[in-house]
Amino acid sequence: MLAKHILMAAAALLAANLAGPAEAAFPDKDINIVIPFGPGGGFDVYVRMVGPFLEKHLPAKVNVVPKNVDGAGGARGMTQVFRAKPDGFNLAIVNVPGAMILPILGEKVDYELEKMTWIARLSYDSYVLVVPAKSEIKTIAEYASFAAKGPLKMPSVGTGTTADVAARIFLDVYGFKGEMVAGYKGTRDMTLAVIRGDTASGILPSESTRSFVESGDLRGLLTTADPTDYPGVPSAKSLGKTDLDGLFVHRLIAAPPGLPGDIKRTLEKAFLEAMADPELQEIAKKTSRPLAPLNAVEAEAAVKRQLQLYLRFKDVLKDK
C-alpha cells in the first residue's frame, strides 16, 4: 500500500520537474543575481549587501537570491547569464574591465560583453600604487629613480587578471620596465605579498589596501582616482598622467541581451532606489563599502569607455 503511494509521489515529483513557469507581471518569482566568483569576495559582499534592499524596492514581494557561480576566472558565471532567458530573473554582477580582458587578449569566451543589457552600477574601486611602509621610497619621484635601477617586480594573480592588467598599463604609461610575479591567489594575498616584501611595490585596488595604509603597513604613492580618495596620496591626474585617470574596477549589474525595456526600467529603478535608501547608505558607511550608483545609460557609457581604454593598451597587455 505504502509502496504504491510512494510510486505515485515519485511520479508527481517527476512531473513537477518538467513543469515550466507561468507568465505574469514582473517580478513574480525570485530573482537570481549571479556572482561569477566564490562566496566571501568583494563582489559577493556587495550583492549580499544590496540584495535585501533591492527586495524592499521592487514592485512585488520576491526574494533576491545571490548565486555564486565560480569558475574560469569569472567566465562561467558570465556565460551562464549571457545565455539565460532575458526575462529579468537572471542578473549578474560584472567586473568591468575584468570580464573584457580575455576577449581583448584574443582568448575565446562564450559571452559577448557589449551585447549584455546594462542595468546599473553598484560601485567602483580605484587602483593605488603601494610600497611596504618600511621601504625608503616615499614619493613617486623616488619611485621613478628606483625603477631605473632594474625591472620592477609586481604581484599578480595571473596573465589577464584585473590587477595584472592595471599594473602593466601603469608601467607602460610611466615607461618603467616591469616583471609580473604571478600565482597569488587574490587581492588579499597580493597585499600581503607587498607588505612581506616579496616584491618592492604593487598596483592594488584601493579598497583592500586602505586599512593597511591606515595601520602603517603600506604606503600609497599614487592613486587613479581624481580627486584623490587617499589622503596624502597624489592622484594620477595631478601628476600629469591622464591616461591612468579613471583606471577603475567597476561593479555593474547586467542582464542577458534583449531584455525588454519595461523590465529593464523596473530593475533600474529598484536598484537606484535601493542604493538611495538611507538604511543601506548607513550600512555602506559602516562596512566601508561605498556605493557609487550609476543608472543604466551611464553604466553602459562607462563600459564603452573602459573598453576603449583597454583596447588602446592592447599590445602592452600581451607582452611577457
Binding site: L2, A3, A10, N17
Partner: protein, 158 residues
C-alpha cells in the same frame, strides 16, 4: 599467474602511463612545460624503481625492503580481478548513467531501488522505501534548503 607477476604488470602499466605523460608534457611550449616535465621525470623514476622492486632479482628485493620496510614482505591477497569486482564497478557506472540520463531525483530512485533489488537481492518493497527516503532527503536538503537546483538529466532537459 602469481601475485608477484601481477604486481609487476601493474607497475609496468604505471610506468607506461608516466612515460606517456612525459611525452604529452613535452608537447607544450617551454614555460608551460617546465613543471609538468619535472613532475613527469620524478614520477617516471619512481615508477621505474617500483618496477625494479617487483622483479625477482636480489637487488630488486633489497630495494623493495629498503624503501618499503617490513610491510612489503607481507602477503598481498589475491590479485585476480573477479566477476564480482566487474559487477561492482558496473553498478557504480550505472549510478552515473542513471543520474546523467534522468537527473538526480529520478536517477537516484532508479539506482537505489535497482541496486538493492537486483544486486542486493533484497525485497523490492524495501528497495522502494529506501529509494524513496533517499530521494526525499536529497530533495529536501539540496533543492529546498540549499536551493541547489539539482541536475535534471539529459532526458528532462538538463
Amino acid at each position: 599467474m602469481s601475485n608477484n607477476t601481477r604486481n609487476l604488470i601493474v607497475s609496468l602499466i604505471v610506468l607506461a602511463l608516466a612515460l606517456g605523460y612525459l611525452g604529452w608534457a613535452e608537447s607544450y611550449p617551454a614555460e608551460r612545460a617546465e613543471v609538468p616535465r619535472l613532475v613527469a621525470w620524478v614520477t617516471l623514476v619512481l615508477s621505474a624503481i617500483d618496477v625494479f622492486a617487483h622483479t625477482r632479482t636480489a637487488a630488486g628485493r633489497r630495494t623493495a625492503e629498503l624503501l618499503s620496510g617490513r610491510a612489503h614482505l607481507e602477503a598481498e591477497g589475491d590479485l585476480r580481478i573477479t566477476l564480482e569486482e566487474w559487477l561492482a564497478v558496473a553498478w557504480m557506472g550505472a549510478s552515473l548513467a542513471a543520474i546523467l540520463l534522468g537527473g538526480f531525483l529520478a536517477g537516484i530512485f532508479v539506482y537505489v531501488a535497482g541496486y538493492m533489488t537486483i544486486h542486493g537481492r533484497l525485497s523490492w518493497r524495501l528497495g522502494l522505501y529506501v529509494a524513496a527516503g533517499t530521494v526525499f532527503s536529497c530533495w529536501l536538503v539540496f533543492d529546498e534548503l540549499l536551493r541547489t537546483g539539482l541536475y535534471r538529466g539529459f532526458l528532462f532537459g538538463g
